[in-house]
């Protein structure tokens, strides 16, 4: 290892250093996967439904903060390339986050109320197809409303490279990791320590019994969707801050990867989503050191391997079928 570090060419980096750097990149990438994965995992935990539309909620999260910023005059203008928008003050950044979170929470509840609730008692396949339908609707509606070409997202925070000793990350990536960690911990505490959290766990354990025990099941499911959507909205704005162009199809790949992360970690488990996201991000990045060509296949190979060894995912509970 030391030898590897020593053979670095001037200005270049050794393999060991490169690997460390890739792990750091992977953690940043994985944090985003984890934030989105939480939404999949919570909904699946309660309704046993793969909410395919969740990736689109993430996409809309980015747009819900883009438009307010645009109306306030913080975006660049393709008609007038010389126009330099003002620096976005911190309180506006906060406002954009809150705005996007509120809109997405509302949207999540809306989707649940009108698309999924009527199907709660029909087959799971019907619900799944509806989820695919909602996803297609939001995607194509997005293309019609926002147009297909990518929009330049305003610079919320001036990007710079921060040296952390062995590795270097941009400040926006560090913010992503920190915010994701805080949100995930907060969510975990919320689910474990509060009354609505207990209601969520009860619904996920057995919805009928929970209803008999006086839990407001409909309200709890609405809340689950709202919280999942808030996490996706945060992910959307964070990613737009780090990679400042947004387009109506950005949720497709991100949603699929996050879903894979949720299944890896054990769908239904919040710490599992965090673990799955980080594992996926780091593996992709580390494999990327050797071949970025095949790094994309890694997510799916990893998925199949984990499912074969432990079908319920790394931290998932395995349910035995009763006779």
């Amino acid at each position: 290892m030391l030898e590897l570090l020593a053979t670095a060419e001037p200005g270049g980096t050794s393999l060991a250093q490169a690997l460390l750097q890739q792990v750091a990149n992977g953690i940043a990438k994985g944090s985003v996967y984890a934030l989105i994965a939480v939404g999949y995992t919570m909904v699946y935990g309660v309704l046993q439904l793969i909410n395919f539309a969740h990736g689109e909620v993430y996409m809309l999260g980015a747009y819900f903060s883009y438009y307010p910023a645009k109306w306030m005059g913080y975006t660049t203008d393709p008609e007038d390339p010389t126009f330099v928008p003002a620096k976005v003050p911190l309180y506006v950044v906060g406002f954009l986050f809150v705005c996007s979170m509120a809109c997405c929470a509302f949207l999540g509840m809306l989707i649940e109320r009108f698309a999924y609730r009527p199907l709660r008692n029909s087959s799971r396949l019907a619900a799944l197809i509806t989820a695919i339908g909602v996803s297609l609707l939001l995607q194509n509606g997005g293309i019609m409303l926002f147009k297909a070409d990518p929009r330049g997202f305003p610079t919320l925070i001036e990007q710079s490279s921060v040296d952390l000793g062995l590795v270097a990350l941009t400040n926006t990536k560090i913010i992503i990791v920190v915010v994701a960690a805080v949100m995930m911990t907060g969510l975990h505490l919320f689910v474990q320590k509060t009354r609505p959290g207990a209601a969520m766990r009860a619904c996920s354990f057995d919805m009928r019994t929970a209803r008999l025990m006086g839990v407001n099941v409909d309200g709890t499911i609405g809340l689950t969707f709202a919280i999942g959507s808030i996490m996706a909205a945060v992910a959307g704005v964070l990613v737009a801050m780090d990679q400042p162009t947004i387009d109506p199809l950005m949720g497709l790949m991100a949603g699929l990867k996050a879903f894979v992360a949720a299944v890896l970690g054990g769908i239904g488990s919040i710490p599992g989503a965090a673990l799955g996201g980080l594992l996926l991000g780091v593996t992709e990045s580390v494999v990327g050191t050797f071949s970025t060509t095949y790094a994309e296949a890694v997510a799916f190979v990893l998925l199949i391997l984990v499912l074969l060894v432990k079908p319920s995912g790394l931290l998932g509970k395995s349910g035995r079928e009763k006779v």
Partner: protein, 334 residues
């Protein structure tokens, strides 16, 4: 046995007659849509065996199609491979040169897909429901990423210049074979065992059904026809690239199936036809309304509303027959 052969002869002659009729009297555009319907029928009917009869939710059909398309094209097409180190283009004449090679190439493609079905089927047997869906989706994506990186089949560029072999005759013949064999399968002990697995796997196992084996066989059967359909589609489009077989293609086939009614063979056929013709019909509406993109929005809305108001699909698990028609018509016997 005699009946099988008779059916085959009838089907082949029918396909031949229809092919002649289409070629003589029908506009090429309509013929093309009919051909695409034929391919969609093969896809939906074969997926119905895995998803509808056996109840194994597979999202990997496009992956099997891709394998069938690439393998058959590998035999029928002149390959031009750019060597990225030397800059030379290596030209390789088709292995099966001439129209005679089309059916053998298709069958080899189908068998390759079936082999992939075996490879996917065996390890994923332990998985159920959504987990199986995700594993098969992963399989499809892996196939696409692999193809994107194989320089010998054109990588992302894909394979252009497939010969013009996919005539209406072959498409209709294979669609006929696929439908007839599915009818036989559904009525056989094998088919009934698959339904038993769908209804209750544990109970089926207790009754002495070899669940694992039958599930794999259902996968192989479905994959074989998906491979055939992929080969036909490739030779109809006359160019293939990995992006044609993305996971949206798998979803399209699932939607056909669910629209018609999962587990209903006639439902699968109707779903395949409706979802091939509908987007074409909506094309003119879109043009008139001057709202580019409204087509897909309508498609998505129809999907959601259908699931909310008729989650079992148009036919449910029933088959379309004259009897059913009579019952559905007003004044009919209930």
């Amino acid at each position: 046995m005699h009946r099988t052969l008779l059916l085959l002869v009838v089907g082949v002659s029918l396909a031949f007659g229809v092919d002649w009729f289409l070629g003589e009297f029908i506009e090429e555009y309509v013929v093309r849509i009919i051909n695409l319907c034929g391919i969609a029928i093969i896809l939906a009917v074969s997926l119905n065996v895995i998803n509808g009869l056996c109840g194994q939710f597979s999202l990997g059909h496009a992956g099997f199609m891709a394998i069938g398309a690439y393998v058959s094209a590998y035999f029928t097409t002149t390959l031009r491979v750019l060597n990225t180190e030397t800059g030379e283009t290596v030209v390789r004449a088709p292995l099966f040169d001439g129209a005679w090679g089309f059916v053998p190439a298709l069958l080899i493609g189908g068998m390759a897909a079936a082999a992939a079905g075996l490879v996917v089927g065996v390890p994923t047997l332990r998985l159920k429901g959504d987990y199986l869906a995700i594993a098969t989706l992963g399989f499809g994506e892996i196939v696409i990423i692999m193809l994107t990186n194989f320089e010998s089949v054109g990588a992302a560029r894909g394979l252009p210049g497939l010969p013009n072999y996919a005539s209406s005759f072959w498409i209709l013949t294979f669609a006929w074979i696929c439908v007839v064999s599915s009818v036989f399968l559904q009525r056989s002990t094998f088919g009934r065992a698959l339904v038993a697995i769908r209804e209750n796997e544990l109970a089926a196992e207790v009754m002495g059904i070899r669940v694992a084996r039958l599930k794999v066989m259902a996968f192989i059967y479905g994959a074989f026809f998906a491979g055939l359909a992929g080969g036909l589609l490739g030779h109809l489009l006359r160019t293939i690239s990995p992006s044609t077989f993305g996971f949206m293609k798998s979803i399209e086939v699932v939607v056909m199936l669910v629209l018609g009614g999962l587990g209903s063979l006639t439902g699968a056929i109707v779903g395949a036809i409706v979802l091939t013709v509908l987007p074409e019909a909506l094309r003119d509406v879109e043009q008139q309304a001057k709202l580019p993109g409204i087509r897909m929005v309508v498609y998505a809305l129809v999907l959601i509303l259908l699931m909310i108001f008729r989650p079992q699909g148009i036919f449910g698990q029933r088959e379309l027959s004259l009897k059913l028609l009579r019952r559905l018509l007003p004044g009919g016997r209930k």
